[in-house]
C-alpha cells in the first residue's frame, strides 16, 4: 500500500515541478529590441503594437525649417496632461525649435541632444533605447517622442489623468487627527508619505508586478530604523510574484503572507498616511500599490488591530479605556453566542437565579435548540450586513427596517426566536464592528466556537480558545511572532498594548520590531512645569 502511495507521490511531484518550470519560462519581458534608427520602421512598429487601440494618439510632425527632421509623438489619450503636452512639448518642438535650432547649423548628430537639453521644457525627460520599455512608458502615461535617425526615444513624463482627490477614508474615521487618506494614484500616495517624513532616510523603491497589468508597486521603509533583513525579505517575496495582474494590494498580500491558510491576516493594511508614517517610524515596511488606497504594512502584529491612530492623538487615559473596551468587544464578538449557548444548554447552574428564570421564561416554547437558534441568527445577521453594505444608500433604509422590525420584533413575538438570543446576536454584531480589522476572522472563529460550544459546552469553548491561542502563537509575520508582545511576552512593550502610555514615556520602539535602533526619543521629557516661585511671573 505504501509503495503505491509513494509512486503516486512521485508522479505528483514530477508534475508539479514541470508545471512550475513552464510557468517561470513564460514570464517577464525578455530583453527587448532597441529602437530602430528609421522613423518609418518605428512608426510601423508602434502602429503594429497599438493596432486596435482606439485610445492611442500618434502625431507626426517635422522639426526645424528647411532641412527638417521628421518626428512623431505617441501617447495614450486621457493619461496625459494635454495642456502640458501642447505648451511644453509640441509647441517647443514645432515652433520654438525653429529658433533654438539654427537652420544652417542643424547638426543632425545633435538634434536629439539639443531637443532634450534645450527645447523640451519638461522636468522629467528620459532617453530610452529599449523599444519595449518605451512602450511600457507610454502605457503608463508618458509621452514618447521618436525622432528620425535616432535609436532611442525620448520619454516625457507629463502624466495627468482624472483622479480622486485626497479625501477622508471611510474605513478609518477619526475625530481628532489628520483627515487625509490615500488615493488610487501611487505618486500621490508616496508624496503624502514624503510630506509626513521629510527625511532622506525614507526610501521608496519601486518595481512592476503583473504580467499584463505591469502595476507599479512601491516599497517604503525608513533606513536605519527598519530591520534590513525584513526589507530584504519583502523585496525577495515581491520579486517572486508572477501573476497576471495586480488590481489591489490584496493580491500581493496573499502572495507575501506567512500563513496563507490562517484566518488572520499577517499583513496589515490601512488607508491613512499618518498610520503608515507611524508604522514606518516603528520600523515597519510599507508596500504601496498603484490603483488602490490600501497600503500594506509588514510585519503586522495581532495587536495592531486594536490600536487606532486616534489613540495616539487623544489623552492617554481615555485611549487606554477605549483600548480595553476594544479587547472586551473582540472577546464578546467571538464568544458571546457560544457563551449563551453553553450557558443555556450545558451550564445552567452558572446563571444567577433571577436571570435564569428570566431566560427560561423567554425560551419557553421556542421550537429550536439554542445552537440552531444562534446559528440561524448569526447567518441572518451576516446576510443583513452584506445586503446593507452592497445596497445603494437609499435602499439601505429598507434593510434596517426589515432587519430590526421583522427579524427582531416579529420573530420574537411569533415565538420563533427567544428575545434573549436577539440581544446576544445584536451585541455580537455591534461588538464586531469595534475591531473592524479582525471582523472577518472573528466571524469564522465565532462559528467554530459556536459549534464547539453546542457540542461540548464550556469544555468545547476552552478547547476552541486554546486552539485559537496555539494558532495565534504559532503565527509569524516576516519573522516577528504575530502574537507578540503577549506571547512571547515582552513586558516593556505592554505599555503600548494594555495601556497607552504618554508619548514621553514610550522612549523605545516596540522591541520586536525596532530592536536594533530602539531609542526613538530623548528619555526624560516628561513636562516639568515651573515651580511655584517661577509661576509668579505669569500672574504679574
Amino acid at each position: 500500500m505504501f509503495g503505491k502511495i509513494a509512486r503516486k507521490i512521485k508522479v505528483y511531484l514530477h508534475k508539479r515541478q514541470a508545471e512550475s518550470q513552464s510557468l517561470s519560462s513564460g514570464s517577464h519581458y525578455p530583453p527587448g529590441k532597441p529602437v530602430s534608427v528609421s522613423l518609418t520602421a518605428n512608426l510601423d512598429r508602434v502602429r503594429a503594437v497599438f493596432s486596435d487601440c482606439a485610445d492611442i494618439v500618434i502625431r507626426e510632425f517635422k522639426i526645424g525649417i528647411g532641412e527638417q527632421v521628421r518626428a512623431f509623438v505617441v501617447f495614450v489619450d486621457g493619461m496625459v496632461d494635454k495642456t502640458l503636452l501642447h505648451q511644453n512639448l509640441l509647441k517647443p518642438l514645432m515652433l520654438d525649435a525653429r529658433i533654438s535650432i539654427p537652420n544652417q547649423g542643424l547638426n543632425r548628430q545633435r538634434v536629439q541632444e539639443m531637443i532634450r537639453d534645450s527645447t523640451l521644457t519638461i522636468a522629467d525627460v528620459k532617453e530610452i533605447a529599449d523599444f519595449d520599455r518605451v512602450m511600457e512608458g507610454v502605457l503608463s502615461g508618458d509621452t514618447a517622442v521618436f525622432i528620425d535617425g535616432y535609436s532611442a526615444a525620448l520619454l516625457a513624463g507629463i502624466r495627468g489623468w482624472e483622479t480622486r482627490g485626497v479625501e477622508q477614508p471611510d474605513t478609518e474615521m477619526v475625530v481628532r487627527g489628520p483627515r487625509e487618506g490615500f488615493t488610487e494614484t501611487l505618486r500621490t500616495n508616496t508624496s503624502l508619505l514624503r510630506r509626513k517624513i521629510k527625511n532622506s532616510n525614507l526610501k521608496i523603491e519601486t518595481m512592476k508586478i503583473g504580467r499584463q497589468t505591469r502595476t507599479d508597486v512601491a516599497v517604503a521603509y525608513l533606513k536605519g530604523v527598519a530591520n534590513d533583513k525584513v526589507v530584504e525579505e519583502v523585496r525577495r517575496r515581491l520579486k517572486d510574484i508572477d501573476i497576471d495582474g495586480v488590481l489591489e494590494s490584496g493580491y500581493l498580500e496573499e502572495y507575501i503572507e506567512d500563513a496563507p491558510f490562517s484566518p488572520f491576516a499577517t499583513v496589515g493594511n490601512t488607508e491613512k498616511p499618518d498610520v503608515v508614517a507611524a508604522k514606518l517610524l516603528e520600523g515597519r515596511v510599507a508596500i504601496l500599490v498603484d490603483g488602490t488606497p490600501f497600503v500594506l504594512t509588514v510585519p503586522c502584529l495581532f495587536i495592531e488591530s486594536f490600536l487606532v491612530a486616534e489613540d495616539y492623538y487623544s489623552r492617554p487615559y481615555y485611549a487606554t479605556l477605549i483600548r480595553w473596551i476594544r479587547f472586551l468587544a473582540f472577546l464578546l464578538t467571538i464568544a458571546s453566542p457560544a457563551a449563551y449557548v453553553t450557558l443555556t444548554t450545558f451550564h445552567q447552574e452558572m446563571i444567577p437565579t433571577p436571570l435564569f428564570l428570566t431566560v427560561a421564561a423567554a425560551r419557553e416554547g421556542i421550537p429550536f435548540p439554542a445552537v440552531v437558534e444562534a446559528l440561524m441568527m448569526g447567518i441572518i445577521f451576516e446576510i443583513l450586513r452584506e445586503a446593507g453594505v452592497r445596497l445603494p444608500r437609499p435602499v439601505g433604509q429598507a434593510i434596517s427596517i426589515v432587519g430590526a422590525l421583522v427579524i427582531g420584533e416579529m420573530a420574537v413575538a411569533a415565538g420563533l426566536i427567544g428575545s434573549s438570543m436577539v440581544i446576544v446576536v445584536a451585541l455580537t454584531a455591534i461588538a464586531g464592528f469595534v475591531v473592524s480589522a479582525q471582523s472577518d476572522a472573528a466571524s469564522i472563529i465565532r462559528l467554530i466556537l459556536l459549534a464547539l460550544a453546542g457540542a461540548m459546552g464550556q469544555f468545547g469553548i476552552m478547547v476552541g480558545l486554546l486552539g485559537l491561542l496555539i494558532h495565534l502563537c504559532s503565527l509569524r509575520s516576516f519573522g516577528v511572532p504575530f502574537f507578540s508582545p503577549l506571547g512571547p511576552l515582552t513586558v516593556q512593550d505592554l505599555k503600548d498594548v494594555l495601556v497607552r502610555a504618554p508619548w514621553w514615556a514610550m522612549v523605545r520602539r516596540p522591541r520586536t520590531l525596532g530592536w536594533h535602533n530602539p531609542v526613538r526619543q530623548t528619555p526624560g521629557q516628561k513636562p516639568d512645569p515651573p515651580a511655584d516661585a517661577a509661576k509668579e511671573q505669569f500672574h504679574e
Binding site: 502511495i5 503516486k8 507521490i9 505528483y12 443555556t344 444548554t345 450545558f346 445552567q348 447552574e349 437565579t353 435564569f356 428564570l357 428570566t358 431566560v359 427560561a360 421564561a361 423567554a362 425560551r363 419557553e364 416554547g365 421556542i366 435548540p369 439554542a370 459549534a451 453546542g454 457540542a455 461540548m456 459546552g457
Partner: protein, 392 residues
C-alpha cells in the same frame, strides 16, 4: 490521493464531526426542559422510607417585566413529593411524576422535618453534598413539623416560596434573633471537633381558617447530628452574642431614673472573644463582648442624655445581653451538653496538648466549664431628637 495530509486531516475532522454529532446530545438539555428546584424538603416516612418534597419554579408564570399579561393568577411554583429508600432514590423517583428533569443548582433552601432531624441528619445530607448539582450555599432549615408543609406553603410577597425563605433568612440581620446557616457551614460544624451544629427553625403560623405564613422562630440545636431541642429568640440572640454574629437588633430596657416606660436601644456593632483558660484542672471560659449602639426610641419621658442616665442605660443594656447569654448557656451547656458555641474548638486552639486528653470526654466536661461574661456596652448617638419632653 493527491494530498494525503489533506485527506488525513479531513478524515480526522470528519471523525471529530461525527463524534460531535453523536456525542452532542449527552449533556445537552435546553433550559426550557428543566424543572428548577427552588427548595427541597426531606422527611422520614414509615418504614425508613425517605420522602422528598421539592418546589419547582414555573418560569412561564414569572413573566419578565414589560411583558403584560402576568401569570393569570396561576401559582409560580409546583410542588412534588416523592419517596424512596434513600434520598437519591427518592429524587430519581420524581421522574415518575414530574414531566421535566429536576434541576438542582438553583435550590435555595433545604428543609428537614423535625422528626427526621431527631433521628440524625447527616445521612440525609450526603447526597446533597456529593451530587454536583446542588450547591452548598443553600440554607439549612429545620421545620417545626413536616418539611413537606413548609415547602408547600405559599409566600406572601414573593411568588416563589423559596425566595421568601431566603429573604427571611437574610433579613435575620435586622433582629439577630434568627440564625442563618448555609449547608457548607452546617457541614463544617458537623465535622469540626469540639463543636455542635445548629440551624434555623422554620414554622407555619396563623391558626384557623386563614392562610398560614412562614415564620422563622427558633433555632434548632443538634447534638452531633441529632436534633436536641429548640432555642427561642432571646436564647438565639444569646448564641449570636457568643459567636460574635450579632449585626443589628433592638435591645429593650426599662427606662432609667424616675421615668416609667421602655427604651429601645439599637445595636450598631458587636464583637466577641472567647478566652479559654485551664487553671489547676478547672476549665474557665471568658466571653468578652463589646457592643456599641444608639438610643433608638424612648417610650418614656425624660432627658436620657444626662451622664448618669446615659451610663445607667448602658448598664441596663449590658444586663440584658448577659441575661440572654446566660439563658442560652443554661439550656445548651448545662441541660443538653451541646457545644454550639465552639468552646471545645477554642480550648483546642489554645491548649492543643491538653485537648488530646479532653476530647474524648468533652461532653462530660462541657457542663463543668465555668463561664464568665464580660460585657462592654456603649451608647453613642441619639438620633434626630435629644430628649422627649412630657406634654404640658
Amino acid at each position: 490521493m493527491k494530498y494525503p495530509k489533506l485527506v488525513a486531516a479531513m478524515v480526522i475532522g470528519l471523525l471529530v464531526l461525527v463524534s460531535l454529532v453523536i456525542t452532542g446530545c449527552w449533556n445537552r438539555r435546553e433550559i426550557d426542559t428543566l424543572a428548577t428546584v427552588m427548595a427541597a424538603g426531606i422527611d422520614g416516612g414509615p418504614g425508613g422510607r425517605i420522602s422528598v418534597t421539592v418546589q419547582v419554579a414555573k418560569p412561564g408564570e414569572i413573566k419578565p417585566p414589560g411583558q403584560g399579561g402576568g401569570g393569570g393568577g396561576q401559582p409560580a411554583v409546583a410542588v412534588f413529593t416523592s419517596t424512596g429508600a434513600t434520598v437519591f432514590d427518592a429524587v430519581r423517583n420524581f421522574a415518575l411524576q414530574a414531566e421535566r428533569k429536576l434541576f438542582w443548582p438553583h435550590c435555595k433552601a433545604l428543609v428537614i422535618g423535625e422528626e427526621t432531624a431527631r433521628a440524625g441528619i447527616s445521612p440525609l445530607l450526603d447526597f446533597i453534598d456529593r451530587d454536583h448539582e446542588p450547591r452548598e450555599l443553600m440554607w439549612v432549615l429545620i421545620a417545626r413539623g413536616q418539611a413537606k408543609d413548609i415547602i408547600s406553603a405559599e409566600g406572601e410577597l414573593e411568588k416563589i416560596t423559596a425566595e421568601s425563605i431566603e429573604k427571611l433568612v437574610k433579613a435575620r440581620i435586622a433582629t439577630s434573633k434568627v440564625v442563618g446557616i448555609r449547608l457548607y457551614e452546617f457541614r463544617k460544624m458537623l465535622g469540626g471537633t469540639g463543636r455542635d451544629p445548629f440551624a434555623t427553625g422554620i414554622e407555619l403560623v396563623g391558626a384557623g381558617e386563614g392562610k398560614k405564613r412562614l415564620k422563622l422562630t427558633e433555632t434548632a440545636v443538634f447534638r452531633k447530628d441529632r436534633l436536641m431541642g429548640w432555642l427561642d429568640s432571646d436564647e438565639t440572640r444569646g448564641l449570636m452574642w457568643i459567636l460574635g454574629e450579632v449585626r443589628s437588633g433592638i435591645i429593650v430596657v426599662p427606662a432609667p431614673g424616675p421615668a416609667e416606660g421602655k427604651v429601645s436601644l439599637e445595636i450598631i456593632r458587636a464583637s466577641s472573644k472567647l478566652k479559654p483558660e485551664i487553671k489547676d484542672g478547672y476549665l474557665t471560659m471568658t466571653i468578652e463582648i463589646e457592643e456599641e449602639g444608639n438610643l433608638g426610641e424612648q417610650m418614656a419621658f425624660g432627658d436620657f442624655t444626662k451622664p448618669e442616665l446615659w451610663t445607667s442605660l448602658e448598664k441596663r443594656k449590658a444586663e440584658v445581653i448577659e441575661r440572654e447569654i446566660r439563658a442560652v448557656l443554661k439550656k445548651a451547656q448545662e441541660e443538653w451538653a451541646v457545644d454550639i458555641f465552639g468552646f471545645g474548638e477554642a480550648f483546642r486552639r489554645k491548649y492543643p496538648r491538653e485537648w488530646r486528653e479532653m476530647k474524648d470526654n468533652w461532653r462530660d466536661l462541657l457542663p463543668t466549664v465555668a463561664v464568665e461574661v464580660k460585657i462592654t456596652a456603649k451608647l453613642r448617638r441619639v438620633g434626630l431628637i435629644t430628649k422627649y419632653n412630657p406634654p404640658k
